[in-house]
């Protein structure tokens, strides 16, 4: 990182450390960003001695009027002699804050710079030309701030000298931008009329803007709230490696947030195992005493032998991270090939890695155009919100709770292809740390799939009563078994006779019924079997839960036989009873079946034979990677 560091200011006179606030200045290209930065450096006394005079002299020599913006460029170039990196940081100070100005220069690599820089900003200054008013790019940048989760935005209306310091003009712009930002959920902390060139409103309320009663730019910056220091957050120590160079078994990693000390009770996520920190090891002096805070690369030993691996997260027992197989992220995409639904990826969250599938793309936006393109793919240098399902559970935090553990990168073919922030963690109850250790199977998944010639899966048949689910399920079961596979039928009604006999047909009971079915089926799938579930499962929400539980192994088949034909078939006589009013809560005649929208397969049994339908299912299971084709490439499935 390219640092232009003006005289360091480690402490205030009374010895306390000054709060540091990171800001980014955005706005339309000619609306005066560099001028404002130059002016701010000057007004806050942050310039090296003689710098201003030198630049004025150089300008005069070249017969050019002095511009404040030259200042920034001169400082920039000076350091460029040795350093040319993406992100630049400039430091200056207000009365009570150390400001780190994150500069995201250039437009070509706009997104990468904007995201890596501004995603770490605590606040932003949005600059608008008083003459030109709110432009497309102004709105665009407002949108990006919203996208990046920057909530503190001060708006400055610059070049007031060019509109004769008109209070009316200022009010128009102020109203327009405030409405726009509030529409995005961002409330401006201040809207300030300034002339960066002349200095009005930057550090002083001059007579020319006598009608303005709000804060100056410097005062507004002074009021920005710094991000909570990482050390004040909950402990997160991602395990980078486990070393056993001698008789010590050292768990090594960098403390991303919080702090630890020997004797702390900790929980290892995602497994939820509990231990106590025995020592904090170091070199050349070891062990070290005293509290170790965020940023330190440490090594700890535990008071008991536990199985740990790279990517586990060590936390305190009362503030463990969420464990999830599914999360939503706001990402930026840098790869040539657009990111599409169904893509297989590698996700890295700190040292943890997991294979993942893009389950949904909710928003795809070109931040240059700000047009929300069709939600099918995220192109290079575009941004979007996606749902990801992970093949291994990971412990993570939403980035609003922890900026370090709440971010991830995406790899394609061993190369970083994108990155983003964790917005929310689905189905992830804050894990209750328990002293239970799930017993792992003695067999590896690839051992089973080598025998069965298929991966584990949950094949979920949903549809109206008498649509043909059970018939298809049984046909599929027979066929998979004949081919040497390991299918297991889980019929909703059959399970209601035992495991689910405590459940009725209320909405809540139906949800619980589906949840249990999904849990059992998923357990079987994880152990290499193909669980075939036949259940009406009318509620979309319940099926979504099932998909979340079963994750990438979930294959939904909508048995979409027309309702009249189902009623005509009525093998169990349920339709008749329901019509007669002797069967309550019967799905089929109440129109309460919510049709699936993204099933892997849709089958109408009134137009094809059972064998034809089974063919289609088999084909789908092949193309989605459950059944192996003739040539078995086991390596690809490990």
């Amino acid at each position: 990182m390219n640092m232009i560091v003006t005289p360091a200011s480690p402490a205030t006179p009374n010895g306390t450390t000054r709060p540091q606030v990171r800001i980014v200045i955005v706005g339309h290209v000619d609306h005066g960003k560099s001028t404002l930065v130059g002016r701010l450096l000057h007004e806050t006394g942050s310039l090296p001695d003689g710098k201003l005079d030198m630049l004025k002299a150089v300008s005069a020599r070249r017969g050019m009027p002095f511009e404040w913006s030259f200042l920034l460029d001169a400082l920039q170039t000076e350091r460029d002699q040795g350093i040319t990196i993406d992100t630049t940081q400039i430091r200056f100070r207000t009365n009570s804050r150390d400001i780190v100005l994150i500069d995201a220069p250039g437009h070509a690599e706009f997104l990468r710079n904007m995201i890596t820089g501004a995603s770490q900003a605590d606040g932003a200054v949005l600059i608008i030309d008083a003459l030109e008013g709110v432009r497309d790019q102004t709105r665009r940048h407002g949108y990006l701030l919203h996208l990046l989760g920057v909530k503190q935005v001060a708006v400055v209306v610059n070049k007031m000298d060019r509109v004769d310091f008109s209070a009316e003009r200022f009010k128009d712009i102020s109203d327009e931008i405030s409405a726009h930002l509030q529409g995005l959920g961002v409330k401006p902390t201040a809207v300030i009329p300034i002339s960066a060139r002349d200095g009005d409103g930057v550090a002083e309320r001059t007579d020319r803007i006598g009608w303005y009663k709000g804060p100056t730019v410097v005062e507004a910056l002074d009021r920005l709230e710094p991000a909570r220091p990482l050390e004040a957050l909950a402990l997160r120590l991602p395990v980078q490696a486990i070393y056993k160079f001698d008789d010590r078994r050292i768990v090594a990693g960098r403390i991303e947030s919080g702090s630890l000390i020997a004797g702390d009770e900790i929980v290892i996520m995602p497994a939820g195992k509990i231990a106590r920190i025995k020592t904090v090891e170091s070199w050349p002096v070891t062990p070290v005493t005293g509290r170790q805070g965020a940023g330190r690369s440490v090594g700890i030993t535990l008071d008991r032998e536990l199985f740990l691996e790279r990517g586990d997260i060590i936390a305190h027992t009362n503030s463990a991270p969420r464990e999830t197989r599914r999360l939503r992220a706001r990402i930026f995409w840098l790869h040539d090939k657009p990111l599409a639904k169904g893509d297989q990826l590698l996700v890295r969250c700190g040292p943890k890695e997991s294979r993942a599938t893009v389950v949904a793309i909710e928003k795809a936006v070109d931040p240059g155009e700000l047009s929300s393109v069709e939600n099918k793919a995220i192109g290079r240098n575009h941004v979007g919100e996606i749902d990801i399902s992970l093949s291994n559970p990971i412990a993570t935090d939403p980035y609003t709770e922890n900026p370090r553990t709440g971010r991830l990168v995406i790899e394609v073919s061993g190369r970083i292809a994108g990155g983003g922030l964790v917005l929310s963690v689905d189905a992830g109850q804050r894990a209750v740390p328990v002293d239970i250790v799930p017993v792992e199977s003695a067999l590896r998944p690839d051992e089973r799939s080598a025998r069965y010639r298929h991966n584990g899966a949950v094949v979920w048949l949903t549809g109206l009563p008498a649509s043909g689910k059970s018939t298809l399920a049984k046909a599929l079961e027979r066929r998979l078994f004949s081919n040497g596979g390991s299918p297991i039928l889980l019929d909703g009604d059959t399970l209601r006779a035992g495991l689910n006999s405590d459940l009725g047909f209320s909405t809540a009971d139906r949800s619980e019924n589906i949840r249990r079915l999904a849990e059992v089926a998923t357990h079987l799938a994880r152990n290499g079997h193909i669980a075939i579930v036949a259940a009406v499962s009318p509620a979309r929400e319940d099926r979504a839960t099932a998909r979340r539980i079963a994750d990438t192994s979930f294959r939904e088949i909508h048995v979409a036989t027309p309702a009249e034909i189902c009623e005509e078939r009525d093998p169990k006589g349920h339709y008749k009873k329901a019509r007669a009013g002797t069967l309550a809560s019967f799905t089929g005649i109440l129109n309460d079946y919510e049709t699936p929208q993204a099933a892997e397969l849709v089958i109408d049994t009134s137009t094809r034979t059972v064998a034809e339908a089974a063919d289609e299912i088999e084909q789908m299971l092949k193309t989605t990677g459950v059944l192996f084709d003739e040539v078995v490439d086991l390596a690809a499935n490990i």
């Binding site: 630049l55 030259f70 460029d73 070393y243 050292i250 061993g414 190369r415």
Partner: protein, 264 residues
């Protein structure tokens, strides 16, 4: 945590990533101040040891003090030291100017060592502040099959996520002290009491700022006879150098860039 603590923690993180994610790595030990700091940091990362070889690609033309240093600390630090020779100077393109020819010879020696051991990662002690091209480096920097660096097609690297998958047959350079400056190196060397070769300290009004082969390394005028004085010297020399440059051509650049880029 102070500035040096932060640098140290970051370097340790990089070392552990390299050791964990690559199969066969080695540290390039040039015996200079930077690579000595690297070895120290690695021993911090791995609790006192260097769990991979220290590779010295030897031109045979180092200063005697450097060879003595290598032999002494190679033993004292319990390094798995591999000294690999370079091909004779005659084997290198004679049309190159002397210094470049010497450097090319070292590159050849490195290639031979790579082929011999099959390393997929080499740890090198370059720093961004050394020169402009190094400033553009990544921490995990992929090299082509010929060992070349494609500066225009570097993978993105952010949030301490490193691209650790070199293409088949190629290798990665890992730069654990890329973010350090010359002053940082000296301040840390002093704080940690890391041994140095005395050539860095002033004798008769001259000292070496960096150490390479005898025939292509020149001392600078200096009276700094201990690390504190070196730090003061670096602090003082920086300012006049920079302000001088700024008056000459750099501000001109600034005007150019301003016009072209409409920067920020």
């Amino acid at each position: 945590m102070d500035h040096l603590d932060q640098l140290e923690a970051q370097s340790i993180y990089i070392f552990r990533e390299a050791f964990g994610r690559l199969k066969k790595i080695a540290l390039l030990w040039s015996l200079g101040k930077d690579s000595n700091v690297m070895i120290w940091l690695a021993r911090k990362a791995f609790f006192g040891r260097l769990p991979f070889p220290a590779l010295h690609v030897d031109t045979g033309k180092k200063f005697p003090e450097m060879y003595r240093f290598r032999d002494h600390y190679g033993k004292e630090w319990d390094l798995d030291l591999r000294v690999e020779p370079c091909p004779p100077i005659d084997a290198v393109d004679p049309t190159l100017p002397p210094a470049a020819r010497s450097a090319a010879r070292k590159t050849e020696g490195l290639k031979m060592a790579l082929a011999k051991y099959g390393f997929d990662g080499l740890i090198a002690g370059i720093r961004r502040d050394e020169e402009a091209t190094r400033a553009k480096e990544r921490v995990f920097s992929p090299r082509g099959l010929e060992g070349n660096w494609d500066v225009r097609d570097q993978p993105p690297e952010f949030w301490d996520h490193f691209n650790a998958s070199p293409p088949q047959g190629a290798h990665l350079r890992i730069h654990p002290i890329l973010h350090w400056t010359e002053s940082d190196i000296w301040a840390y060397t002093k704080r940690e009491n890391i041994p140095i070769i005395p050539l860095y300290l002033s004798q008769n009004g001259k000292r070496y700022r960096s150490l390479g082969d005898q025939d292509i390394t020149n001392p600078v005028a200096s009276n700094a006879s201990n690390i504190d004085e070196i730090l003061i010297e670096l602090e003082q020399t920086k300012v006049p150098e920079r302000s001088g440059r700024a008056l000459d051509h750099e501000t001109e650049d600034a005007f150019e860039r301003l016009r072209v880029a409409g920067y920020l």
